[in-house]
């Protein structure tokens, strides 16, 4: 999958759909009738003023953009000041996979909500990416096996890392064997493997 597919304005991007599913805390400033079931912690029919619920980002952005706004959208834990300080201290040791699988895409979407700390978040995103990218590039170019730490990467970084490795091995192939070797198509190989495993399961 190419990177341009997982970029915010792409309506069809699977990564963006999954990233906008991450939850953010919302504090309701207006009563909403008949939608009480959105709050799993209560069995009331309506959402009362002052209720706090964690809602997916796509819904939160609508709540935020209405005038007057329906709810005040807060920041998720990962982008609060305490965690931002951790990211500032040394972004390379943070396990983003555990913390937020779609750290960058989620962060970018969050910035668009015009929260008062948006600029600060954007800064952290850029700075952490800059530092972590160096490390990823290093892994992709200088190790033949998959680095164990690559499990700590967020989704975007993982794509970059895999692309880096693939390009590296292709370059190696080209240097040693030239470019004219014909190989089976990826999907064909994948399909064959599937068939083999299915056969194994049957016997």
């Amino acid at each position: 999958m190419s990177l341009c597919q997982s970029y915010v304005p792409n309506y069809f991007s699977i990564a963006d759909i999954l990233a906008t599913q991450e939850r953010v805390p919302c504090k309701f400033e207006m009563q909403v009738k008949h939608l009480g079931f959105l709050d799993p912690g209560s069995d009331k029919r309506d959402i009362e003023i002052g209720t706090s619920i964690e809602l997916p980002l796509w819904m939160a952005s609508v709540l935020n953009s209405q005038r007057p706004s329906i709810a005040d959208v807060g920041l998720p834990k990962v982008f609060k000041e305490a965690y931002r300080d951790i990211m500032k201290a040394d972004p390379c040791v943070v396990d983003l996979h555990k913390l937020a699988k779609y750290f960058y895409e989620f962060g970018m979407n969050l910035c668009m909500l015009k929260h008062r700390e948006s600029a600060e978040i954007a800064n952290v995103l850029v700075e952490s990416f800059k530092q972590r990218f160096r490390q990823i590039l290093d892994w992709a170019q200088h190790s033949t096996t998959e680095v164990a730490e690559s499990k700590k990467l967020d989704n975007t970084e993982k794509i970059i890392y895999q692309m880096g490795r693939e390009v590296g091995s292709r370059l190696h192939m080209w240097l040693t064997e030239g470019g004219s070797l014909i190989t089976a198509a990826d999907m064909v190989i994948q399909h064959k493997k599937m068939k083999l495993t299915q056969k194994d399961l049957l016997h």
């Binding site: 999954l18 470019g179 198509a185 994948q190």
Partner: protein, 194 residues
């Protein structure tokens, strides 16, 4: 919670390791049902002005509308990303799909594949005087003939010059590159390197 079904479709597609996961008819139908419900509720809320003395009905309508839009986006992304795969398949499997894969496509997808194949063939025919097979020589050829090994018991294969070879498992042959390229791509032969 809204949009869980449509999100499941997207997750399934994202997670699947198969070349082509089966089209989730049932999942899509359930999303349609949810959307119909949301739409009906919104129409009812918009028409019922007596129930809204303090102007808060708009909040509920906005939330349901967002859910509708979200469902639409998930469905579109589901269909679009599958079609992208189908298009790739034309280039990887050729114009005939393996039956296991075809079974996982829905009817419109098969139609799309066939018409894409047809359009592509028409286009390739229109290039130059005699047409040009774009699927051939994807990588620049260095020699006319290549050494290949058969990976399966394919059976008899007739070459351009009328000669018939028997492609048995593990047998090796010297064949013209142009002829064996599609067989290599489909995983029937492999090129031998020294």
């Amino acid at each position: 919670m809204f949009c869980e079904k449509s999100l499941n479709l997207i997750k399934e597609l994202d997670r699947s390791t198969e070349a082509m996961p089966a089209f989730d008819d049932d999942g899509v139908r359930q999303v349609f049902e949810e959307m119909r419900g949301l739409y009906d509720q919104n129409v009812a809320a918009a028409n019922d002005s007596t129930a809204d003395p303090d102007g808060t009905a708009i909040a509920g309508i906005a939330i349901r509308h967002a859910a509708l839009e979200r469902n639409k986006r998930c469905l579109m992304a589901y269909v679009y990303n599958r079609i992208r795969k189908v298009r790739n398949m034309r280039w990887q499997f050729g114009s005939i799909l393996p039956p296991e894969i075809k079974a996982n496509l829905c009817e419109p997808e098969i139609q799309w594949f066939n018409s894409y194949s047809k359009t592509l063939a028409l286009y390739m025919k229109s290039i130059g005087d005699q047409g040009l097979n774009l699927a051939q020589d994807v990588k620049p050829p260095k020699s006319l003939y290549v050494e290949v090994r058969s990976l399966t018991d394919y059976g008899k294969f007739e070459m351009d010059n009328g000669e018939v070879v028997l492609l048995k498992k593990h047998s090796t042959h010297l064949m013209s590159r142009a002829q064996c390229e599609p067989l290599i791509i489909q995983g029937i032969l492999e090129q031998i390197t020294h």
